[in-house]
Symmetry: C2
Subunit: 195 residues, 2 copies
DNA sequence: GTCTATAATCGGATAGAC
DNA sequence: GTCTATCCGATTATAGAC
């Protein structure tokens, strides 16, 4: 029968494990670590709560499993930095940012990190380490910009994400991507350019 | 005995009510609405949990009581807008922003709103209405800047608050106020200036 | 693989004594 | 004004049957 050594679904598996992971991503994204309950995740996935423990052990383990990004951050950063001329870096960053937040699959883990970090100290530490090592350090190393400036640019983007996708303030929430690019790309570019 | 009609402490009051309010502000600020428990608030205040209900009824009522800002937002906005020449508006906004976040008394309610809005839908609605009516509308009316631009400026400041005071990323978290003013004020000014 | 049953804890809220 | 006692619901987690 079907029996692979790597990848794919193992023999005997139903789709429950993946269903749990998908439901967990949604719940963590929507309510943060503390607000997402195993019972609700199980209900969303259509399985028994005990099955969640059977697959993932503790809630914390489920959290880190659910947050594994579908793409590799280091690869993404390198791509954004090198995909064109330096004078268009601001625009590339804004477009990349909007693409991540526009796609449900990548938005859920990021939203989960933000929502959880806001109220859970352990999650905040995870986010701090991730932002520092996976993003800031690579960007700072890749281009010759002082770290405080890179952080100011990141702050601009995170603030927009908060107003647009979490608090949902108008007209920011409904503005088309292109309008945001036209507005924000020059701002980011300027932050990075002035030594 | 002592018996005033307005202001001051009423006869028979101990300091418990104020102690509860102060503890509630800290807890809501530190853990968000859902994460702050009445039992913990009571413990911080050194009183019995039942006393919290005695004074404030439900947890929700306690929340809105704890979040009454010590200053009036409409007054603050007007002051920032009119306190100097238009070309220094960016600097005034940044300095005001840093003053609010630098003082514990004003930081606690703002932090509580952010942390709660991140995971609690009801709190998010409160924040959205507050940001829209109390801040954005007044600023947009006061100066002739499109709302989307004002929101971009607010996003820049909120993002900085997040990195500096919540996630605590270095060097943003430890940078002196003046360094941030020098870096950010021109950015805000530019957002507001270009039609 | 999946579920039942249950332990152990913690949450908000209330009634009522003092 | 303040506290004791308690109700009732929800939570994570485990043991074990099927």
């Amino acid at each position: 029968m079907v029996m692979r050594t790597r990848g794919g679904r193992r023999a005997g598996d139903s789709g429950s494990r993946d269903a749990i992971l998908a439901a967990a991503r949604d719940r963590f994204a929507g309510h943060g670590y503390d607000g997402a309950t195993i019972r609700a995740i199980a209900a969303d996935a259509g399985v028994d709560p005990a099955l969640v423990h059977h697959y993932f052990g503790t809630k914390e383990h489920l959290f880190v499993s659910a947050l594994r990004l579908p793409i590799d951050p280091r690869q993404m950063v390198a791509q954004v930095l090198d995909a064109g001329p330096r004078r268009e870096l601001g625009e590339r960053m804004v477009r990349f940012f909007l693409r991540v937040w526009g796609d449900e699959r990548s938005r859920a883990p990021v939203l989960a990190m933000i929502r959880s970090a806001a109220t859970n100290e352990q999650a905040a530490t995870m986010v701090r380490q991730f932002v520092t090592s996976a993003l800031l350090s690579r960007v700072t190393d890749g281009i010759g910009v002082p770290r405080l400036r890179v952080e100011a640019a990141v702050a601009q983007l995170i603030g927009i994400a908060l107003l647009r996708y979490v608090v949902k303030v108008e007209p920011m929430a409904s503005a088309p991507d292109e309008e945001l690019v036209a507005l924000v790309a020059p701002l980011i570019q300027r932050i990075l350019d002035e030594t």
